[in-house]
Every structure is written in C-alpha cells, then in structure tokens.
C-alpha cells in the first residue's frame, strides 16, 4: 500500500482546515472499509488520510425534534438502534444486511453515501424516506436531497472542501408501511445485484394508496427514485394487476449495466419482480 500520513483532527473546524490545506492530496476516511480497500487496490493514492474518528459527536443519533444520524454512526449501531428500528425500519434492515458483522462494526452511514456506489446498501431506504444530507464547509452549510447528492458511480455533489456531517430524516406519514429487498449472489459480504425499497401510505379506511415512494439500487449510475411507478400506485387500490403493472413500469425507469454480478436484462427483470414483491410485502398481501 502506498505510504500516506494519517491525521486525526479533534474538531470539524480542524478537519475542514486540513482539507483545504492539503486539497487534492488528501482524502477523508471514516470507517475505512472502502477507503483502505481502494487504497490497496490503487484506485486512490492520497498523500494524507484525514480521519473523522477523533471528532466528537459525529457518531451520535439525535431523535429529539428532527431525526439526525451522524455521518460516523456505524451500520451495526443502526441495525441495533431501537429508535431507528421503530421509526425507520427500512434503514435498519438495509444496514443489517450490509457486508458482515466485522464490516458493520466499522463502516459508517456517511461513508456508504460518500462512496456513492450505485448499489449502496442504504441508499434506496434513505431515498424513500426522503433523507437529506448536511454538508459543511468552512464558509457555509448546505442541505441536499439524496437525488441531488448522487451524481454518478463514485461521484457526489460533495465539494473538495466539504464534509458530510449528518443525515437528516423527516418522519414518514403515519400508517406508512414498507419493505427493503436485496438480491445478492450470496447473503453476506457481497454487493447487491438489485436492491429495492418501497414505502407506502394507505388510507386506513379504504385501503387506497395515498402516497408511494419507490427506490431502486444497482440498476443505474446512481440509486434512484422510480417516480412514474409511484404515480401509478397513488390514488389507487393495490390489487394484483396494479402491482404487476407497477413492476413493469419500474423496469422502464432503470438503466442497468451488465457486470460480473448480473446482466442488464436480468437486472431489469429482477426490478419488476422485486418491486412487486416489495409492494406485496409492505401491504402484507400473500406472495404469488
């Protein structure tokens, strides 16, 4: 592995000033499960790694008022957090199937987003919850929605002088039901072939779908919302025919590629299957 210096600032301000001091030569590191691997594989070659682990408060979950998850909260913490399991179960589910226990003990939510893999485990769940990220620089702070944060594979809107500080989660409407499904070649330690999150709000009296949020991962340059498919569901009763139609629509909203984990055709078909399955699982319809 290429030699690098390892700096461990104690405050966000210090980290930000190191970031501007070293510029392109520096790279931020949170848990390091991506950064160290990429460094070993020579995909990145920083002169300086700036660790965020020494900064107090970044590993906190705040649930009084606005729900905020610090960028350095690990997936293990998320998977075990009663507050997150209760209020954002699809995120807890996604974190619980990421990597392995060893990875989840170290890898962070902020890291997962900043790596910006199209198959990022937590992205579909965060997209259906309409999460935002708080980016801070020395001059200002800005809040971005996830669709404007993800720009492409490995690419985000994060400026070189910014740090992702926290993830902000608005409360979903009451009576929201959802599911997160991951299709992988094996259960652990592999990236998704396709991942899907669905969050539905039904009128408790009529059963009509008032609001639908559907997000797809690993089937486009970035994780994305399937907005046309959402529209098909909204205002309607979720019967078998409509659910199948929604799956078929979702297929049209993605643009998968062929890689070692699956072909584009296979991925597209699986989007239809998983979207239908996730809708049924959300509203507890029997699977067919």
């Amino acid at each position: 592995m290429k030699k690098f210096d390892y700096l461990k600032p104690h405050t966000l301000e210090e980290a930000l000033s190191l970031l501007s001091q070293y510029g392109d030569k520096a790279r931020l590191i949170a848990g390091g499960t991506d950064a160290i691997v990429m460094n070993k594989q020579k995909k990145i070659s920083p002169d300086v790694l700036i660790s965020l682990q020494g900064i107090q408060g970044l590993d906190q979950i705040e649930s009084n008022g606005t729900f905020k998850i610090g960028a350095l909260v690990t997936h293990r913490t998320i998977e075990q957090s009663e507050r997150i399991k209760k209020r954002f179960p699809l995120l807890a589910e996604a974190s619980s199937v990421l990597g392995s226990v060893q990875i989840r003990n170290v890898a962070t939510l902020g890291g997962n987003l900043c790596t910006a893999s199209p198959s990022a485990e937590t992205a579909p769940s965060l997209l259906v919850y309409e999460a935002e990220v708080l980016l801070v620089s020395r001059m200002e702070e800005r809040r971005l929605s996830l669709p404007s944060f993800f720009l492409g594979p490995g690419e985000t809107a994060l400026d070189k002088k910014e740090i992702l500080k926290e993830i902000i989660l608005p409360s979903p409407p009451p009576n929201s039901l959802g599911a997160y499904l991951k299709l992988g070649r094996r259960k652990s330690v592999d990236l998704s072939v396709v991942n899907v999150a669905v969050l539905l709000t039904l009128d408790p009296k009529t059963g009509i779908c008032e609001r639908a949020r559907i997000a797809l991962g690993a089937v486009a340059p970035t994780p994305l919302r399937a907005k046309e498919t959402e529209k098909i569901l909204e205002g309607n009763l979720l019967d078998e025919r409509l659910i199948i139609r929604a799956g078929d629509w979702a297929k049209q909203e993605c643009s998968p590629i062929t890689d070692i984990r699956g072909s584009a055709e296979y991925r597209r078909e699986m989007v239809a299957v998983l979207v239908a399955k996730a809708i049924k699982q959300s509203v507890k319809l029997p699977r067919k």
Binding site: G32, G99, S188
Partner: protein, 155 residues
C-alpha cells in the same frame, strides 16, 4: 513519518512506533510477532484476520493501525489463560471437530467470542449471522456452528 501509538493488547499496554499507512494486522504480525491472526483476502471479505477492538469483531487487514490508539485489542493469543488453558470456545472447537486446516479458526473463534459476550445464549440464526463474514475453505461450517452452540452452554 512514524507515529507513536498506545493501546492495550490482550490486556497489556503496548506502545509502538509505526508508519501511519500500516493496517493493524501488519503491526500485529510483523512488529509484535503475534502470528495467530491470519491474513486471507486482505480486503475485508474473508474474516480470517478478525480481532476484537473494544469487544467488537473487526477485520484487522483493513483497519488503520492509527485507529487502535487508545483502544483495547484482543487477538487469538489473548484467549487462553496464563497457564495455557484454552478458552471454553477454543476447547469447544477442538472437541467438536471444528478445526480442519485451521486457517479460519482464529477469526472464527473471535467472531464467536464477540457474539457470546453480547448474546450469551444465541439462536442458530444468530450464530450463522455472527460468522457470516468468516469464510472456511474446508467448509466445516456445521461443526463450527455446533462448537459455538456447545460453548454457549459452558460459559
């Protein structure tokens, strides 16, 4: 430039000077000569390098050594007692035929220890989940699961 770090290793305080780009496993094996921890894939996928940091299972092959500063590290060498008596988990691995070539064993045992410390009476599902990040190329998984189950009865 080398940096000095302090941490607790198997209960004893250590101070080392290390290049900041090293991973924990490099320091354990090459500087501290504790070769019980094995390196398999080197990418955090196989779990052979598993150690405990503050009680949590971690892949030491992708863990920056600089992050161990001030932490409590347990390796496989830290499990037996001072007289060399095996830890109950280790004994259970031996008694249940859970050791074949042995390369995954230190990592498996430490993943099992992290599990049993947190969940003393795990279900089989919890055991499987706890070792999902530890590959055994001899594929002796059933004996390993059995060994962890038996160990949970004795701790």
């Amino acid at each position: 430039m080398k940096q000095t770090i302090h941490f607790k290793l198997n209960g004893e305080p250590v101070q080392i000077e290390a290049e900041p780009n090293l991973t924990l496993i490099q320091v354990l094996r090459e500087k501290l000569e504790l070769t019980g921890t094995k390196e398999g894939c080197g990418l955090g996928e196989c779990g052979a390098c598993t150690v405990l940091i503050n009680g949590k299972a971690v892949n030491s092959c992708i863990f920056p050594v600089m992050e161990t500063d001030g932490k409590n590290v347990i390796t496989i060498e830290g499990l037996a007692d001072v007289d060399g008596n095996l830890h109950p988990i280790q004994r259970s691995f031996v008694e249940n035929g859970a050791v074949q070539c042995g390369f995954c064993t230190p990592g498996m045992v430490l993943s099992a220890k992290a599990l049993l410390d947190e969940t003393p009476k795990p279900t089989e599902e919890e055991i499987r989940n706890a070792i999902a990040g530890n590959l055994c190329r001899c594929t002796g998984y059933l004996q390993i699961i059995q060994a962890i189950k038996e160990a949970s009865k004795k701790i």
